[in-house]
């Protein structure tokens, strides 16, 4: 049977349409907007690279707070969350089916219920009065004399954001790793046992990780992307954008601030493009580390 060259594309069409409409076109528009000065009411005028130059030279808040915060947050929450995901996935993979499913659901739920959980759980735990759990415990132990304003003090907000970020990092990547571990070939473990593997740890190093490299890569990229895109934590915890003293200001919050509070869409678009570039670079690094070397 003869097929024309267009046939595969017809089959691909639904995906291409959806991907273009929801991913490619918005990115293209954002890149286009980043070269303009646009306030959502008047039509945008072209300003060239001005937004980018301003971003790196004039926006002292970006350089002084936003960028360091984002990198600190992502460097800890990205790899930290990744390691946590892997360790948890590996340890619950050792259970039988029923408890495994329940545990997987439990670990996965924080990333689903982020906003709600943050309001009802973390804001009470780190409440700034003496009735917040952490304050109450510390006061009771006599470690502090007066309650600490965890969520509005510029010295503690980022730390709490990192804790919450780690707690909620068991997302899609976690599920992928779990699936990868579950799908590992049992024969390989048997062969390994015959070849002299003594314990679970060696099993993990010599068999599990090599067999699930694709899932590891996927999880790593997801971890990085999530860490950089995780903007809601600081704003929800502190209840304000910008966060107090810009202590928990991440790039996403900065985009929000310029885009939807000041309505400087052109500048916000430029910041988003910068964020896109940063994520791309880090994903490249992850691919280098975990990708197949063939």
């Amino acid at each position: 049977m003869k097929t024309s060259k267009t046939t595969p594309y017809i089959f691909l069409l639904p995906y291409i349409v959806l991907f273009s409409v929801f991913i490619i076109v918005p990115i293209a528009i954002a890149i286009g907007l980043s070269f303009t000065d646009f306030n959502t009411i008047q039509s945008p005028n072209f300003v060239g690279f001005m937004n980018y130059i301003n971003l790196f030279t004039q926006d002292s808040i970006f350089m002084q707070f936003v960028l360091p915060n984002t990198i600190t947050f992502s460097l800890i929450v990205g790899p930290g969350g990744y390691c946590l995901s892997f360790l948890l996935a590996w340890s619950i993979a050792q259970f039988t089916k029923a408890p495994r499913t329940v545990l997987a659901l439990i670990f996965y739920s924080p990333s689903l219920t982020m906003g709600t959980a943050m309001n009802i759980l973390w804001r009470i735990i780190f409440s700034g009065d003496s009735y917040g759990y952490v304050n109450a415990v510390l006061l009771d132990m006599g470690l502090i004399n007066e309650p600490i304003l965890w969520l509005t003090s510029s010295s503690t907000l980022l730390i709490i954001m990192i804790i919450v970020g780690l707690w909620s990092s068991m997302g899609i990547g976690f599920l992928a790793i779990l699936a990868g571990i579950m799908n590992a070939d049992d024969e390989l473990y048997e062969a390994g046992a015959i070849d002299g593997i003594k314990n679970r740890f060696q099993e993990m190093i010599y068999i599990t990780i090599p067999t699930m490299k694709p899932q590891m890569l996927f999880a790593a990229v997801m971890a990085i992307v999530n860490a950089f895109n995780n903007g809601a934590i600081g704003v929800t915890l502190s209840g304000s954008n910008p966060t107090p003293g810009y202590a928990g200001q991440l790039i996403v919050n900065h985009i929000d601030d310029y885009g939807f509070i000041r309505f400087e869409m052109g500048y916000a678009a430029a910041v988003s493009v910068a964020l896109l570039l940063i994520i791309t670079v880090f994903s490249k690094v992850a691919t280098k580390l975990f990708g197949e070397k063939e």
Binding site: I53, T57, S60, M63, P68, I71, G142, L143, N145
Partner: protein
Amino acid sequence: MKKLLKRVALVLCMIIIALSVSEPFETYAKLPYLTYTQNGYGQYVETQAAYTPHTTISKITSEIEGIDDMRFEEPSDIKITDDGYMYICDKKNARIIVATTDGKLDRVIGEEWLEEPTGVFVIDNEDDGYTYVYVADNKMAREEMNSDRKERKRNGAVVVFKYKKGTPVELIPQDPIYYEATGVWEEQPPIIDYKWEVDRYYLKPESPLYGAGRFNPMKIAVDQSGIMYIISEGNTNGIVQISPEEGGTFLGYFGANEITVSLGYMITEFFMSDDSTAIRGVADTPSNVNVDEDGLVYTITASEGTLQSVKKLNKSGANMLKTEVNPTFGVGIAPGRYNNVYAVTSTGYIYEYTSEGTLLFRFGGKDDQAFRVGLFANISAVDVDNNDYLYVMDSINNEIQVFKPTEFTQLVHESLVLYQNGRYSDSKKPLEQLILMNSLFDYANEAMGHAYFQEENYEQALYYYRLAKEKQGYSDSFWELRNDWLTSNLIYLIVIIVIFWLIFKVLGKIDKKTGLFNVYRRMWKKLKKNKLISQIAYCKTYATHPIDGAYAVKREGMVSYGAITFLMILFMVIMIVNKYFSGFLVKNMRDGVYYIPTDILTVVFGFVFASAVTYLICTISDGEGRFKEILMGYLYSFTPYFIIQPIIYLGGMIVTTNEMFLIQFANIIMFVWIAILLFLTIKEINNYTVKETFKVIGITIFAAVVFVAIAFILYILAAQVINFVKSIYGEVVYRLEK
């Protein structure tokens, strides 16, 4: 004849006066104490004299006829008012002596009414023209205060006297009394009316909030609204705050010291039942209190365990003076005219702080019964007058020493006041003079940096912050300078980077097609034939493939003393450059301090010692490694240091505190990497399992400690022997000479 004598006497007197006037030059020549200030590293450094002894007041001279000169005994407190009167709390004689600041008697207050006065405070009320003298009395003197004699001994009171300033003292002559026994009319001394009266007094507050403790006022301070801050002896709840309303309303406790909870205490408390909380520590009572015109309360605490012994408290009781210098045995505190603070310790030291808590000066000292002016037997209080003269009270020598600020100090104060009022540009002039007088006075350098920073002259600010070792300011000005540079050069920078990137890409393409760089490749290959070079270059492979690396060290001859020496020298060079010549913000060593020979010895000895100990332990626990291999493996394991540390070094030149986390991350990554490599080196070179490796590492550390301990003991023994031989030699020489 008589006239002539008088004239001669007059001339003589004048000569004496002239001589005595010119004499101060001699007394200035040598002070019995050194003056210290704090440099940017927080160390005490000597500086020129800040205050010089001016006079000593050991008795109050009386110019009122019929009243003799007075001496005070065990004076416990002093207050000086702006109009030049001083109020001396004469504890032993139970009275308050009012005198002018040059030591002339004005009047005596509180006789008969005071029992053991220890603290005094003075408020001039401009509304009714009276001056109110608040006296903290440890006991009660008068029966009318409390009829119970025991209670009078137990509890004290605050007595408030009032008088009108300038009212002359009146002497009421008394009729002679006839004594029948002797049969003579005896002259009676006149009764002296000092024209004061008791306005009111305050006893122990009746409020249940006061608690069960006693009320023994030690010191008192009163703010403009009349609220009294009273230190009650032994009351650990804080300063007793009493409002004058309704005959004294207890407002609560104020400014208590914090209890420091030690780890040991927490553990004890954790294991103890709730009943046994008797061991809970108590906060120390402040030893003195003062109030300034703005109503800020100053306290000082004598105890050694107090974290913050000098405090400036706002209305809510929060400490605003965050100082690193906390004297022990502090007994007196006084606010100065420039928001500066004076604190004195009973051991004889006087401290001056800025309003932020930076130590400006420390001087004075303990007098070892030499009675030298400028030293003290036991300071009890301090106050400062309108000309910044310090009046320091000594309760054992029974005198008040007056100190005069030097020109240097006056300049410091001048710049302080200008700077605090935000007149940064004006403050530069006195600061410049200060720096001319003492270029190592870091307070001036820092203030200068601030002044230039406010003027947005960041280059100068950077220069002065660097001198003052002020890291935050340095970082901020550096950020501004770097930002300026980036603003004008970022475009070029990007263009250059892009061009380089393109060149590399194009060259790579050409190379792939035509083999442009094959010549260099061949050269490198040739070079690698040299054993030593290939061994040194192998560290790159070792860092990423330590297991293969260890195999190569063991079986493929990647080990030689040449390579070991080269890598060790490389390590030393990187370490020394990084330690002494790194960017200011990441530098941990002080300027001008070099221990390079020690560093070199440490590196060589450290590596050799660590390898030797590991080797010794490995040989007795089935290890396969040899000394040379272990040493080589250790040096290879430090490859991340060779690669990352130079990057950190260069980064340290251009980062500010904002980006400091990048340096920290790099450090963490480096050390974790090194640790993993070291672990794998031990494991692979000796062919151990993970468990065995941990065991061997533990034993190795223990062995190293034992070796160090033995070396230390041997050193002490050797030193003893050498000393012994030396003293015998000395003895022999001495005898022979005899």
